[in-house]
Symmetry: D2
Subunit: 345 residues, 4 copies
């Protein structure tokens, strides 16, 4: 860590910074420049909490040189994390894993139809919300426990694994009983109580990037899960807040190769939320696979015109089948293959 | 609500949109323009969920004309909400209420010293975190229950009301036992489970704006609290995510008069988090009061150089006393007065 | 266009809005809702300037239904614009056109080496800056006229077409004498004097998106060029300003299919500026082609470690050759082919 | 400057960075940490161009410790720059200077009426656009030279100084003949050709912050003007691009005390463009003065309902008079006074 002193910082101020560093148990190395002095903090193993130094007189800025996460970092583990689901699906290896289904579970007929349609087209994981975090209290909030039961039923029928969102600490045990992967939504990416609790579960977690989270903050959120013992973390790029109202979010695909450089964790992309526009989902799914995504999360509804939520961005089954064909072709070019459902050839 | 059709939408597509609107129980009024047709949805009382319409063929865009919140809106209640704390402090009336204290409760000595210092300078509410939502799992996470007890002790000593953050549904009862105002932090502004639970408490809530939340979304989050029965919601502007690394956040003071136009709820401003820089706190506190803020939330530490968190933005007691002097002078110019602690003249 | 009135707008206010619309030569159709009245402006051909209406009492908001550009819109021309360069290269058709070269022209040896290297790898257009718009006045500002002459020399040697930036109205004639395509940089996207002047030139223009420009504003800037008579406009996505310092810009690839939906103009992508990080250029070039980009703009330097500008994002020739191989494979999957230099098989 | 090496950078890579630094004429001091090595570049006077180092193998990041501007920095000149206009108005001293008038000069009657009204209320500078940079080529582009003549006429009538925008290099001499202050608009903040040319004029320049410019970039743009010899630069905060459509821009008032810390140049604030909403102009004008602004730029139209541009944000004369009353009261509290027109008591 480097402590940059203001121009004109006094010798006494520099001395106090050095003393504080030594008190904290590290070594201080002042580097006097023509305009400013920089004091190096040496001997640390990982990022140091700079709160004490930030408040000292004469300090202009703290520059961190170490990453603020450890377990999630590529430096701590060079090989990719590969997560294995029941049924043989792996995430983070050579396969590109497609997770698809409706925004919300609405009824047995709907979720079964959706599950069959996405399996038919080649998805290996069924997505669907039972507990929905909606911006307005008056929007449909999901079927809750009943939604989980319907997802389990759809799994029985199709053999697909199930990913669904968990909204709060109280719901973790319940969701973990039904789901194969626990999704933490973008709004909850920094809900540290929830992160800690999901970190104690022995099931993989799908952690969506917050709409204003940096990649570093996403990895710090993953660190919360990992620090509690859950090493099976799948990250998800789903668009960040931008300034152009033409799309619902700004889909940040550069985050994919960036995460691969900084971390060993797999990262999937959600072009449905990432764009918010049905017409953009297929081209951006192609782009995500081309950028190196380890999987896709796609909203598919058997009848988008009657969806209770997110109708504007859901694909109809035949559109999703087209997406799968294109994703397979791109995956091949980048030396990967799209995972296929068991028993489908 | 207005449904804008794509150019070239067919008569059949327009008919289907109109039919869907009628099915939803409203009246459809097509307005055929030269380039596009707009279908008005009439007869609604408040915002309609547009999910079904968004998914229909030929639909370009939905334009909402009604606000997506009711109880929080100025249209539903024209008079300002005025919240009364024990001890006679009111928020949302003529008074400008200053809440001050350290980022985290660190020890009995620290919180008592801080409480005395801020009361001495004129604050009427003590702030201080017992449960801290930190970006990194390795940062200091707060003293928890012990921190709450110390806050209560500081209240006894000084008569100040206490505001402190509640992180999760499980903690609500505990925090409500000790605090006078329950703070919901920016990271949790869309934690709907927490919002619903705090909405059931009979104590005022301080709702901080999420770092990427629009003012509309802030008011929708307030609506969650109010829909559960808690009408005593204090909003807080604390800076949004910007692109300039020179400040930690981008302090959006225009949100203050905007909230006053759209809503009857009080809004306070937090120049400490809003800027992240100690030197900016006093001028931006002045600016916030000048913009019409109903109060200020300020980080004050008896010894900023030894703070366990947020040292760089905490004021020392004498700096805070200067802030109070300036805030009083600005408040007077805008026809208000800074609330004074009971028994201080 | 729709004029949304405030709740509680008086009948007189609504009447004045209707009267103003009629005065402007259009038809006014009031739509009284339960909460608000909307007044439709009918009979317009294209977007109407709303300034007069915005200022009227009782007006809450103006909602534009027409696009604010005409010549650039897909609605005015449904077939893609295909731009033909000397030498047979076409942009906007089936080919994916790769433009590559150094950030700045530095010397004859450098630009000739760069031109040969990029041609060898398969680029058909040479990029290189003679006039450089630098953030700091103390950074290298380019070789100016001499740089243009060196670009022309490189063209003679290699047969590549040349794209280079024009900074101001005064430089247009000079640059047009040497370049095959005139580049308007991101900083100048709304320099309307420059846009108008380049609109009068009979050479194609490459218009880079401003770092905070919406796609609509990009198309409005193109409209400036087209309104002056220059129909050969190539748009370029090069990253927008984001909040995450991990990348220099936020590369907005969704803009590519969005532009294709809204406009008939070709759009290319610049992964070098779009990410600012050498390691990200190849994956994001793949992603751009997968998203449907009509071409790529890539920084290549014969010796990146000695580049006078943008060293951190420039590819070495062998890295660029690898990019070309991958781009060709992706292009094929999306039904296109990467244009090849004449005489290369 | 500090060069942060990647973890695992080889001794040879570190040696090459050090060698490159020595070749550039500076001294290299390696600081080996447990995780990474940092190489300090010492002996520089001001910021060094890092292009050569960024491209070297093993380099992770460059951290600049010096400011990237000199003449504009507080470090180069500790006393505030005070700019004197004819007629005795000073900007950057104790006075708060109000510049007001219509968005565009529309006619003689309009500009004379506006000038009289704003002078009556206490403005000392008349603003008004003769050359307008509009997003759409079909919007009103200003009266051009005739507009300048009308501004000069209004000056004769009222004694107010005149500030008006210059759009391009070609227009500089013409505008400088008529205006007292040359305005460079937000869209042109990085139009380096224009900056250099205005830097050669012997009249003050008003430099508006670009909508996505950091404060550092604003000061670098000022440096372009100063490096050419024009020391009389007035900066202007006018809102940056944000994500909330509720306001046209996000008014960043923290930029005011930040500029005052980093630079000796005066900075004024434009609450009309900064918010885009008439109702927000007065509270945000108050906030700007409270934050320490050296002046205000306010849109005032004698008849906002008939304005040819920006009607929605223009104040009527009586609203402006109210703004002035409130600005005077706030100015007094912060130890300043609002400048008064000559001959007005």
């Amino acid at each position: 860590m480097l402590v940059v002193m203001r121009q004109g910082a006094t010798a006494e101020e520099i001395r106090r910074v050095a003393a504080a560093i030594e008190e904290m148990g590290y070594r201080a190395t002042p580097l006097p420049g023509r305009q400013r002095t920089v004091v190096g903090l040496m001997g640390n193993d990982g990022r140091v909490d700079a709160s004490r130094l930030e408040g000292l007189p004469g300090v202009l800025e703290i520059v961190h040189v170490s990453q603020p996460y450890k377990l999630a970092s590529r430096e701590s583990q060079s090989a990719n994390t590969v997560i294995r689901l029941a049924g043989g699906v792996t995430i983070g290896g050579d396969d590109v894993v497609v997770m698809a289904g409706p925004c919300s579970v609405e009824s047995e007929a709907q979720i079964i139809a959706a599950a069959r349609a996405v399996r038919e087209a080649g998805a290996v994981v069924l997505r669907g919300g039972a507990f929905k975090p909606r911006t307005s209290p008056y929007s449909f909030q999901g079927l809750g426990r009943q939604g989980l039961q319907l997802l389990a039923k759809a799994r029985e029928e199709t053999g697909l694994a199930v990913v669904t969102e968990v909204l709060d600490v109280e719901g973790v045990d319940l969701v973990a009983r039904f789901a194969d992967i626990l999704q933490i939504g973008a709004r909850n990416m920094q809900n540290t109580s929830l992160l800690k609790r999901v970190g104690q579960v022995r099931k993989p977690a799908l952690l969506k990037r917050g709409i204003a989270a940096t990649v570093t903050e996403l990895l710090q959120a993953a660190e919360y899960l990992m620090a509690e013992g859950n090493a099976d973390v799948i990250l998800c790029e789903r668009g960040v807040r931008g300034f152009d109202p033409a799309t619902r979010f700004l889909f940040d695909l550069t985050a994919i190769p960036l995460v691969h450089r900084l971390s060993h964790l797999p990262i999937v992309a959600d072009p449905s939320h990432g764009t918010g526009l049905r017409d953009m989902v297929i081209p951006m799914a192609r782009a995500a696979v081309a950028a190196g995504a380890d999987g896709l999360l796609v909203e598919v509804h058997p009848d988008p015109a009657h969806a209770l939520s997110d109708g504007a961005q859901s694909l109809a089954p035949e559109q999703f089948a087209e997406l799968m064909r294109q994703a397979r072709a791109i995956a091949e070019v980048v030396g990967r293959r799209v995972a296929e459902p068991a028993g489908v050839s």
